[in-house]
């Protein structure tokens, strides 16, 4: 074909990685503006964070690719940039982005210093063989302590202090030079344009009109509209309809070639046909080997998602299918609950991930969802020697069949200013954590390493850590294995009948206290009814705690004359609407919040 091809040596593929809030998206803004990719008029802060949820929470949730054209004296360069999220729950987004790049800007906030995900993400980039360009950001801030932070970078990551580039993503200081460093330090892509097509699918989204939009990094060969392609893993065939780049909006191109990052559409309607990490090749000239793809992340936190309205089950399934395309790091399998009907057991990488998925589902599909309290996975050794994995308290076999219950243990790395060591150590003791070691990052900052039950980490540990360290504490964790513990299942009975969705597994030593606390929380969350609602917690058939929600005694307003009728009707209609959003179990209406009460047992009243 005749379209002018960009010289492959003038392409750079890189991502921006950092701890949360260190300024990745703001730096991406500067790069978009400085290269003229976006005009001042169309610009807005954290431009690439275009999802409502991202803007509301001020964090990046999805990695986002964009192509910049950068002119320098030696010619125009094409820079494919991927902005990544910093939160630990979204590190799968980072891994996927890395596979589409040759280099990474490792950003460190000059006032916060090196934090947990700085190290974790730097290691991911190194393992993926990327060239790292260390960047110190926010040097405009009064609280910046550049020299100290560079020392931390040297200490924690063995970075050459002379190669750290200083910028302010806010003011733009140092940004033009940074673009030159990208060109000079990061190698161009090495793929062969003449070789058979190989493109890595690193992400996807769904568009009602065009079907699935597949995000690709072309490694070898080229891809054009009209071309017949094959996905090597799934074995599906399509004809390419359109290819292009993100600019940051989608921009059609005649072709994408080795080294390019962009998208393709091919009227793909079946959501499950596309799998992230798969390789796209040419049907008439297929490549022999698939690209390495990604290691599927292992979900760590599970919860049930149920439609509030039982008839919405299929809509919820469709919403999950669609979202899964855009976030391949959560899992879902149908399950049913006596209390909640038909729904899904879903696995997530962490609590924030869980929250985000639930909110996206509700917003993007309009289905009201009831979410059960999250739990970790357990490994259960049953009589006869078989080891089973359970993802929900209801799956726990009869006590008589259980030999052993093991819970996941994570190695937790906590980075804090040194003055908080004492309070954090106390917190860790309360959480059944085992001390491993202390490392000094600098004189004033330490890394504490512990092994602890993952279950302890998901019950509001992060908030505690933040509040005990005035927001300065950060953490990272990884699974180290399963360890046998004396774990028991607590069942909850509402109005005499067990509500499986409220049951939970915990250590025997705290079972009674937790049961009692949960009932207290439930009493706060469940509104009063026209009748008394008894609440009970049971351990293996024995009631270990009880509470009762008293019946409504008086609820009648006095006046109802001409001017009161509209207001009064609306008031009662709203009450009624509120109830429709609750889950009706037996004759008791239980609000969504009640199902999550078990998470907040440590909160003081």
């Amino acid at each position: 074909m005749s379209e002018p091809a960009v010289d492959r040596s003038r392409i750079r593929n890189f991502c921006i990685i950092a701890h949360i809030d260190h300024g990745k998206s703001t730096l991406a803004d500067r790069l978009l503006l400085h290269t003229g990719t976006v005009s001042q008029r169309d610009f807005q802060d954290q431009m690439l964070d275009d999802m409502d949820l991202e803007r509301e929470r001020g964090i990046t949730i999805k990695a986002k690719a964009v192509t910049l054209r950068y002119r320098r004296p030696d010619g125009e360069h094409t820079l494919n940039l991927i902005d990544t999220p910093g939160h630990v729950d979204f590190s799968y987004e980072v891994s996927r982005s890395l596979a589409a790049c040759e280099g990474a800007l490792l950003l460190v906030d000059a006032s916060q210093g090196v934090e947990a995900q700085t190290i974790a993400n730097a290691h991911l980039a190194l393992e993926a063989g990327l060239t790292i360009v260390p960047v110190l950001n926010k040097i405009d801030m009064a609280a910046a302590r550049p020299d100290e932070v560079i020392e931390e970078m040297v200490h924690a990551l063995a970075i050459d202090p002379g190669r750290v580039h200083r910028v302010s993503a806010k003011t733009g200081l140092g940004v033009p030079e940074l673009l030159d460093l990208v060109v000079e330090r990061i190698p161009p892509p090495s793929g062969k344009e003449e070789a058979p097509l190989r493109a890595l699918i690193f992400d996807a989204s769904y568009d009602e009109y065009r079907g699935v939009i597949v995000y690709i990094r072309v490694v070898d060969g080229a891809i054009r509209p009209g071309q017949s392609i094959l996905t090597m893993g799934a074995g599906r065939r399509y004809e390419v309809e359109e290819v292009g780049i993100f600019n940051p909006k989608m921009q059609k191109l005649p072709a994408l070639r080795a080294g390019d990052v962009g998208y393709l559409t091919a009227t793909i309607r079946n959501l499950s046909d596309v799998s992230i990490g798969d390789t796209v090749t040419d049907r008439s000239r297929p490549a022999t080997d698939k690209l390495p793809g990604y290691k599927e992340p292992l979900p760590m936190v599970f919860c049930g998602l149920y439609p509030t309205n039982n008839t919405d089950f299929e809509r919820l399934r469709y919403a999950l299918d669609k979202l899964r395309l855009n976030d391949s790091s959560f899992t879902y399998v149908p399950e049913s609950s006596d209390a909640l009907g038909f729904g899904f057991r879903c696995g997530f990488l962490g609590l924030l991930h869980m929250e985000v998925v639930q909110e996206r589902l509700e917003r993007e599909s309009g289905v009201d969802i009831v979410q059960t309290a999250p739990n970790v996975t357990f490994e259960v050794l049953v009589r006869g020697g078989e080891m089973i994995r359970i993802e929900s308290p209801t799956q726990l076999p009869d006590p008589g069949r259980i030999e052993l219950v093991c819970e996941p243990v994570v190695r937790t790395t906590i980075m804090i200013p040194a003055q908080y060591i004492g309070s954090i150590m106390t917190l860790m003791e309360e959480r059944r954590a085992r001390y491993m070691r202390t490392d000094y990052l600098s004189q004033s900052r330490v890394i504490l390493v512990y092994e602890m039950p993952f279950a302890e980490l998901i019950t509001d540990f992060h908030d505690k850590l933040k509040s005990l360290t005035r927001g300065y504490g950060t953490l990272d964790y990884e699974l180290v294995g399963y360890s046998p513990e004396d774990l028991v299942k607590i069942s909850i009975l509402v109005n005499g009948s067990p509500v499986d969705a409220l049951s939970f597994i915990c250590h025997r030593s705290v079972a009674e206290a937790r049961g009692r606390k949960l009932l207290k929380k439930l009493k706060e969350e469940i509104p009063r009814h026209l009748f008394e609602v008894p609440l009970q917690a049971a351990l293996g058939g024995k009631i270990i705690a009880r509470e009762s929600i008293g019946a409504l005694r008086k609820n009648v307003t006095a006046k109802c004359y001409g001017g009161d009728i509209t207001r009064k009707r609306k008031l009662l209609e709203r009450q009624k609407e509120g109830k429709k959003r609750m889950k009706s179990i037996g004759s008791v209406e239980i609000p969504q919040k009640a199902f999550l009460a078990v998470l907040r047992l440590d909160e003081e009243k």
Partner: protein, 390 residues
Amino acid sequence: MLSTMSPAQPAPGLGRDEVLGPGLYVHVPFCHSECTYCDFYRVSYRDRAADAFLDGLSLELDGLPRDLRPRTVYVGGGTPSALKVDQLERLLGLLEPFWLPGQERTFEVNPRSATLPKIELLQRAGVTRVSFGAQTFGASALRMLGRRHGPEDIGRVYGLLRERIPSISFDLIFALPGRSLEEWDFDLTSALALRPDHLSIYSLIYEPGTPLAEAVGRGEVEPVPEGVEREMLLLAVSRATGAGYEHYEVSSYSLAGHRSRHNQAYWEQRDYIGVGPGAWTTLGSLRTMNAKDLDGYVRGLRERGVPPRLEERLGEAERLNEHILLRLRTADGLSLRGFRERAGRSLEEHSGGRLGQLVSRELLAADGDRIRLTLEGLCVADRIIAELMA
């Protein structure tokens, strides 16, 4: 108990409701008091403002259909008796064209501002009924409510009214902060001793934005516990019905032949026309409210012949919800057959099976075609109504 009450009795001497039109409500938005719990539309009484209001009212009344034959007239507020004698006289003059023989004509009066000359005026104009805002016999409770009368005014003014007005309704409020069940019993005893023809017994409501609600928010005032409030309600029911009053609506009690025909029309979803700022009108599915803005009201009428209004269209769903709401609050109850005719489905279906549950919990009683609140149901009527709404 509501469900044990007798069906509606026709008011003596009146059998011609059919030929008469909607009820007429007149809102007089002035008060001398600033009651701490009040969320009615009202402003402090000022002489000039009251004159301007009457100018506006005169224009608004002129705009009503010539052949309007209101079956009842109700003058409320605010405090109609806050008007000066000559203003009250002018108001009565404005209403005179709407007077019809046998009509129920109610005025709200208050123990402080109802002087003998004003009462005589009402008497001469043929006012058949007054609603007397006594509220409580507790001196400190009256002060807390921001009322300007004392307990001693109640008996005195009641006496003046008794001799001149055929039917007297007496307002009482219970669940007043700091007032015990025994003190409430005293209020009831004192009120019953006067033997008014009608009682309106309200529980205190903390309307958002009122000074009293804000005092509760700041922790300065402690509402009566729900359990005590319930006891107070039950006491009111048993004392009033024990004294021979018919409990014909959640907060209304009457001696034979003294039901409020005007209010009953609201509960029967009949049309009504309201004049004055803040007054509501409902004609079929159109409901309007004159803006709560005295100046705007007067200006609008002077300049365009109509006051500024808000409008609401009632859909069939809203009308049905109101039907449930209003009917269930009355002793006459809700007719299942009537409901099915309106809704095209049974109430059991409409409520998703909740009707049956409420009956089996004895919160509602089914008596042939009629559904009524039981005494137990009366205490939680709002929740029950919400349950039945679609």
